[in-house]
Amino acid sequence: MKKRVLFIHCADIHLDAPFSIFGNENLSSERRKDLKKTFEFITELVMDKNADFLIIAGDLYEHGYVSRNTIGWINGQFKKLGQKPVIIVPGNHDPYVKNSWYRSYNWNDNVHILTTENPEYYDENLNVYFYGIGFDSFHQDNLPVQKAPQVLPGRFNICLFHGTLDMQFAQSPYNPVTSGYLTGLGFDYYALGHFHSRNEALSDIGIINPGSPEPLGFDEEGEHGVYLVELTREESLKREYTFVKTQQRAYFDMDINIEDVKSHAGLLEKIEDILCMYDSQKNIFRINLTGRRYLDSHIDVNTLRHQFENACFSIQFYDNTRPMYDLDELAKEKNLTGIFVRKMKERMDNADGEEKQLLERALYLGLEALLEGNVVIPE
């Protein structure tokens, strides 16, 4: 009877996902290639670490976008693993729907897809019992009703789960479940997927969410990778986890205050200095320029982007600076401008969020029109 298993746990690779943030088709294609590189890296990791099997806890690919070629390519990667099993549970982005590739494609023999109809797989050689809770549709308000797991002592019991764990909101359309419920099932390890940021807070009770191996947007900053998990059963069960970074690129979303910048050259210099601190050629940046603008003219974010795009994999600028108007002074005036500023400020005081942004924009547009006689917006 096998007493130790070593495996790779990954999830949320989202192969062939669209990337709309770049505004550049080449870059989004490049990012999809990154996803494939990352996935290839994961399969190589299985071989390099001589792991017993590979677990993919949902969202391997994007059902709505994945191409036939990619499906064939994925199967080719699985084939490289030889006899090493690949255990997959469908996620909400690659659910086991009627025309799912999981259904229609003739996958390699080492690929085991755990579905609601057939949620379990027992590997006799490895002595591992796999049980999966995944998705049959794009949304699931409740856990699917499926065959109860057969957790038996003496073998390794692993649960693959794709969904929301311990969320505050009661209603989640993505398999809402509590960690208490999961641990109550009695598995030795819970391979989670769905959330793209890694979470090992519950690793003591065998719950790991590895996050996305490759970040997919600016809301996925930080390190991304997979877990190399070792389960050993001697007198008691022992779990060891090793995080392995797999990402090709990182996202950086930052604010740069340019109040101290007096010239366009100064602005470029400031940005350059900041980018130097990161591996800019490889990574993806979103820079929000903030503060009062002492520059004479508007900031042309497109020109800025063109100036820095060769220095970065991708960079985008957002102009959130404010013109150099003394609103308090203007508000004191008895004329039309004074009344306008007072009225706008009054409205802004009663607004927040996007509404406030909108009013602020309207204020500066109006002021520009009143004071400059025309409105110029750099495109």
Partner: protein, 838 residues
């Protein structure tokens, strides 16, 4: 604006009237009902039209009906006016037809260049004066005792004042800023009404991108569905092929089975033929042997060869007749003997009673008759008991008659009288009387016959003696025996006659029979002799029998030979037929039975060989007919064909379906364009807000018209009241409050005298006109007896004010007071005024 010419075709009391007006003061003087109000209404109607419809609530006619010409046929006229810019316009209206035409100074019809309202019609006046009718009638058009403005009038003027353009830097900056914002919004965003602006372009591109994405999604879904279907079809194809192959193998085996069965049938048929042929051959041989022996026997009966079946029948017939005739002859002889015996017997019996032959029969019968008659008569007369009875009857009848009479008498005596008793007495006496009369009559008749009887008795004695003599001769015991014997004698005589006739007939018949017998005998003998059965003239029945047997045997043998020959022919035909059948079954001719036997052996070998090929499949064949199998094979074949076709179709479609990143790129385009659209909408909304707030700010600023208005109203009131009222203020709703001199609190107009209140509102109207026409068209003033409530001083002051006003605007004053005309002439003495008497 100033009115130059008023030409009335027909309007109320006016008909074909022409009024020429001057730029400054124009006074229309006329006493009451001279047509001042009508003329004002004409001017107003020419500018804004006349309202039609129904009567108002107070019963007043609508203007359109009110001013219908009294006499003139045409209802309308012409108004000529000049604007501040020096351009002259002419308006022609026909109120009947509700038509209006506007001509420019070159007589061009420019009616179509003005906006038109559904109710207002062509709005040339609003455009030229800058005032709608509602505002016109509340400002420049001051009717008799109508200076005071109600709340609605104030509201209309206030709104108008709030909308009038400002002057100065603020107005310029507002306008410039609004234009800049509008221009920028149009340039950077656009709107729903634009078509080529950034938002429109983004919307258009976004829609294209959305459509493109939808198409790619559809293709993607379709591709996945096709792939799924393809996978299922390929599996189905494999299953169908397997089943098809299996069924074809089975079909092959089944074909072997059926071939074997066919061969077995052939074998059985051939074997059957063989057996039948063997039997036929045996039968032929047997028949041949039978024919030979029959022919040999036939030779023995060759003597009968000359006879035919008819001869046999004749022989039988002859012999039968011959025998019948012999029997008949015997019968005749026997009958003849019996007849002779009976003749002899009867002749003996006749001899015994010869008396009857000797005596005359008539005499004998007479004697018998008389004796018998006499005896009969004597017997009747000797009956005495009959006479005593006759007497008894007489007595009884008489007694009955008497009794009846008595009863009737008693009936008369009895009281009361009884009819029934009388009737009974009458009936009894009548019956008894009748009976008595009958008894007396019978007694008288019997006594008459007694004399004649005695004569007859003597004759009887004679006859009786004769009869007794005859009776003794024939030994008769009584007369009756004698009569019976006489009758027997007569019968015997008769019988003897009959027998004698019969003897004669029998003799004749016998002779005829003998002749016939000889004839038949002769014919029989000829046949018997020719057959060597008899040689003499006699024959016996057995000879005839022998001839008949011989003849029949000969016939029978002859028939047998024919039958055998027929049978042989039939058998030979059957043999040929069987050989033909075997040839057809086997497919080739057979020369002999041995050859057929060899063929059968070959078939057995072939069948055994075939059977070994489908052994084991028999169970399947039992549950599957060839038709089932063919149907199933056809079904599978058809389905397989469809499946293959569908696989090819799907494969081709899949090959032709692009498989790349189009869908992601389309989605990204949609996302980017959606974001751009949101940014544009955000910007557009920011522009809207900026403009909205700027407009609000401007309105706030405009609301500051109050100081200007207050100042103007104050100035006008000060002029009219000789400086008494200067401080007059209005709020946003044009509510007035006045600071009277020497009073701490401010008052409202209604607290003042009606004349002063009228003057305050006149001042307000004039001030409002002054503000409204700022930067616009200078409007004429239409005043209908405005100074009715004014005192002399204030009238002069007001006219002085109007004199100043007439410097820049046309004033049309209607008055019915001569004094006012004089005052105008006096005050405007240095001016060229136009006074028109109506």
């Amino acid at each position: 604006m100033r009115i130059k010419k008023i030409n009335i075709n027909g309007f109320g009391k006016f008909e074909d009237r022409l009024f020429l007006l001057k730029p400054g003061m124009n006074v229309f003087y006329g006493c009451n009902e001279a047509g001042k109000s009508t003329l004002q209404s004409f001017i107003r109607g020419m500018l804004y039209g006349l309202k039609g419809g129904k009567r108002s609530k107070d019963g007043a006619l609508p203007p359109l009906k009110q001013y219908k010409p009294w006499t003139a046929k045409a209802y309308g006229g012409i108004l000529e006016y000049e604007l501040d810019n020096g351009k002259t316009y002419t308006v022609a209206r026909n109120f009947d037809r509700n038509t209006v035409t506007v001509y420019d100074e070159y007589s061009n019809n420019i009616t179509g260049s003005f906006p038109a309202g559904r109710e207002e019609g062509i709005k040339f006046a609003e455009q030229h004066l800058g005032l709608p009718e509602s505002c016109f009638e509340r400002t420049v058009f001051i009717g008799q005792m109508q200076s005071i403005l109600n709340n609605e009038g104030k509201k209309i003027i206030a709104e108008r004042l709030a909308n009038i353009k400002q002057t100065g830097d603020e107005e310029i900056s507002f306008r410039k800023a609004m234009e800049a914002l509008k221009e920028a919004q149009l340039f950077y965003v656009g709107s729903e009404r634009t078509t080529t602006r950034p938002l429109n372009i983004i919307n258009s591109r976004l829609q294209e991108a959305i459509d493109e994405e939808k198409e790619y999604i559809r293709q993607h879904e379709s591709c996945m569905d096709m792939f799924l279907e393809l996978e299922q079809l390929q599996k189905r194809e494999t299953d169908l092929k397997k089943e098809w192959d299996e069924l074809n193998r089975l079909k092959e085996k089944l074909a072997r089975k059926y071939e074997t069965e066919k061969l077995e049938k052939v074998y059985k048929s051939l074997l059957n033929c063989y057996k039948q042929l063997s039997d036929v051959e045996n039968d032929i041989n047997a028949e041949k042997e039978a024919l030979e022996s029959t022919l040999a026997r036939l030779k023995e009966y060759e003597v009968f060869k000359i006879y035919s079946r008819n001869d046999l029948d004749e022989m039988i017939s002859d012999h039968t007749y011959y025998k019948l005739l012999c029997n008949e002859l015997e019968g005749y002889e026997s009958e003849n003997s019996e007849n002779e015996e009976r003749i002899m017997k009867i002749q003996g019996e006749i001899q015994q009673y010869k008396l009857f032959a000797e005596e005359k029969p008539e005499r004998v019968d007479e004697v018998i008759h008389e004796v018998l008659q006499y005896n009969s008569t004597e017997a009747n007369n000797d009956n005495t008991e009959d006479k005593a009875g006759q007497r008894m009857k007489k007595h009884a009848s008489l007694a009955g008659f008497v009794a009846g009479i008595i009863v009737m008498i008693i009936s008369f005596v009895l009281k009361p009288y009884n009819t029934a008793i009388f009737a009974a007495g009458l009936a009894v006496s009548a019956l008894a009387g009748a009976f008595f009369i009958s008894s007396v009559k019978t007694g008288n008749l019997k006594s008459d016959e007694r004399t004649q009887k005695n004569i007859q008795k003597q004759k009887h004695q004679e006859n009786l003696g004769l009869l007794n003599s005859w009776m003794r001769q024939v030994n008769a015991g009584s007369i009756h025996d004698f009569i019976r014997l006489k009758s027997i004698f007569q019968d015997k005589i008769k019988q003897l006659d009959d027998l004698m006739i019969k003897r004669q007939k029998l003799a004749e018949s016998k002779n005829k029979i003998l002749i016939n017998i000889e004839e038949y005998k002769k014919r029989i003998l000829i046949r018997l002799t020719s057959a060597n059965i008899v040689s003499g003239s006699a024959f016996e029945e057995r000879d005839v029998q022998k001839w008949r047997t011989g003849m029949e045997t000969f016939s029978m043998l002859e028939q047998t030979v024919r039958d055998i020959k027929n049978e042989l022919a039939s058998l030979n035909q059957k043999k040929e037929s069987l050989y033909r059948e075997a040839s057809v079954i086997a497919g080739h001719d057979f020369g002999s039975l041995t050859a057929l036997e060899r063929e059968i052996q070959d078939r057995i070998t072939e069948i055994e060989s075939l059977k070994s090929e489908f052994n084991g499949a028999a169970d399947i064949f039992s549950s599957l007919t060839p038709e089932d199998m063919d149907t199933r094979i056809k079904q599978i074949g058809d389905e397989l064909g469809h499946v293959k076709l569908r696989i090819n179709t799907l494969s081709t479609r899949l090959e032709n379906t692009p498989d790349g990143e189009m869908i992601q790129k389309a989605h990204e385009r949609v996302q980017i364009l959606t974001k751009e659209k949101q940014e544009k909408l955000f910007l557009g909304k920011a522009f809207d807000i900026a403009m909205e707030v700027l407009a609000e700010a401007s309105v706030d600023l405009q609301r500051n018209y109050s100081p200007y208005l207050n100042e103007a109203v104050g100035n006008i009131m000060s002029t009219i009241t000789g400086g008494k009222y200067r401080d007059i203020r209005t709020d946003d709703s044009l509510r007035l409050n006045i600071q009277p001199p020497d009073i701490a609190e401010r008052v409202i107009p209604e607290q003042l005298s009606s004349g002063t209140a009228d003057q305050v509102y006149f001042a307000l109207r004039l001030a409002a006109v002054m503000l409204m026409e700022k930067d616009g068209e200078t409007m004429p003033l239409f005043l209908d007896d405005p100074f009715v409530q004014y005192d002399e001083e204030r009238t002069i002051n007001a006219l002085s004010l109007l004199k100043n006003e007439s410097e820049k605007r046309q004033i049309i004053l209607f008055t019915c007071k001569k004094r006012e005309v004089e005052l105008v002439r006096q005050i405007f003495s240095d001016k060229d005024i136009n006074v028109v008497s109506l």
